[in-house]
């Protein structure tokens, strides 16, 4: 069967750059590094564009590669969660606070302090609105592991929020 969809690289960049950049930013906490990762992801897409057969496939591929490249970058740089939190506060605090409430900004900062696997699951769940099954497929992890990371991550985030924010004591 002939392929109906012909990928346009520039159009794919326009459509997905925000998603790829945001995933990398939330995983690494470094705006410069996130931009570099996003560029690498799109360059990899450009190389393998012939293997992409639908817009949905492109989106899934980009998410998957963005997450794995971010994990690689984290491993390389051995970023510590607390350092990242400080970095995010310094570099993005103004931007974040313009966009969301002060509480939201604090929650986002706290998210950056979670262990990498839990953060990845939560970012895909709440930023990308993916189901646990889709997250498992994106991270190439067992579904049970993803569910566990989601539960533990959310619990830990609530606990951290409770410690920092009196408004979120309920539920903890």
């Amino acid at each position: 069967m002939a392929r109906a969809w012909k990928p346009d690289f520039e159009q794919l960049v326009d459509e997905h750059q925000s998603m790829v950049f945001s995933l990398a930013l939330r995983m690494t906490g470094d705006r410069g590094l996130a931009e570099e990762i996003a560029q690498d992801v799109f360059l990899a897409l450009d190389k393998g564009l012939g293997k992409i057969d639908s817009p949905l496939h492109a989106c899934h591929w980009l998410r998957r590669v963005a997450m794995s490249r971010s994990a690689d970058a984290l491993r390389r740089r051995r970023v510590r969660s607390m350092d990242m939190w400080i970095e995010i506060e310094e570099q993005h605090g103004a931007i974040v606070e313009e966009r969301v409430s002060a509480l939201g900004a604090r929650v986002e900062s706290l998210l950056a302090t979670l262990p990498e696997a839990q953060r990845a699951a939560l970012v895909l769940r709440y930023q990308e609105d993916l189901t646990p099954e889709e997250i498992a497929s994106t991270l190439d992890a067992p579904l049970a592991t993803v569910k566990s990371h989601l539960q533990r991550g959310l619990k830990l985030l609530r606990a951290k929020a409770a410690a920092h924010l009196k408004e979120y004591v309920r539920g903890s």
Binding site: V13, D46, E108, Q127
Partner: protein, 102 residues
């Protein structure tokens, strides 16, 4: 979904990518293509050089083999001539011995 999850969802909305991202990306893509083209040209040159070297080497080996073959043929002819001469001399010797004995 409770209030906390709603707050989390709102906090982790996608952020707009910096405008420099696409610009830098397209520049890197252009450079990568130039580099790829350059590598391809070098590869083609290398392949052409290897083919030329192969052809030249083959021609040289063929010529050497042909010369060797010609040498062997000449050697065979010399030996044949020597055999004929030897036989003629033997016959002459026999005839001379017969004449002397008479």
């Amino acid at each position: 979904m409770d209030d906390f999850e709603r707050e989390l969802r709102a906090a982790v909305q996608r952020q707009p990518a910096p405008s420099s991202l696409k610009r830098s990306l397209m520049e890197r893509r252009r450079q990568a293509r130039v580099e790829q083209h350059r590598r391809m040209v070098w590869f083609e040159r290398l392949a052409a050089s290897l083919v030329l070297a192969g052809v030249a080497g083959g021609a040289l080996a063929w010529r050497k083999a042909e010369e060797h073959q010609k040498g062997e043929e000449a050697k065979r002819q010399v030996f044949a001539a020597l055999r004929i001469t030897h036989r003629a001399l033997e016959e002459m010797k026999v005839q001379l011995e017969e004449r002397d004995s008479r």
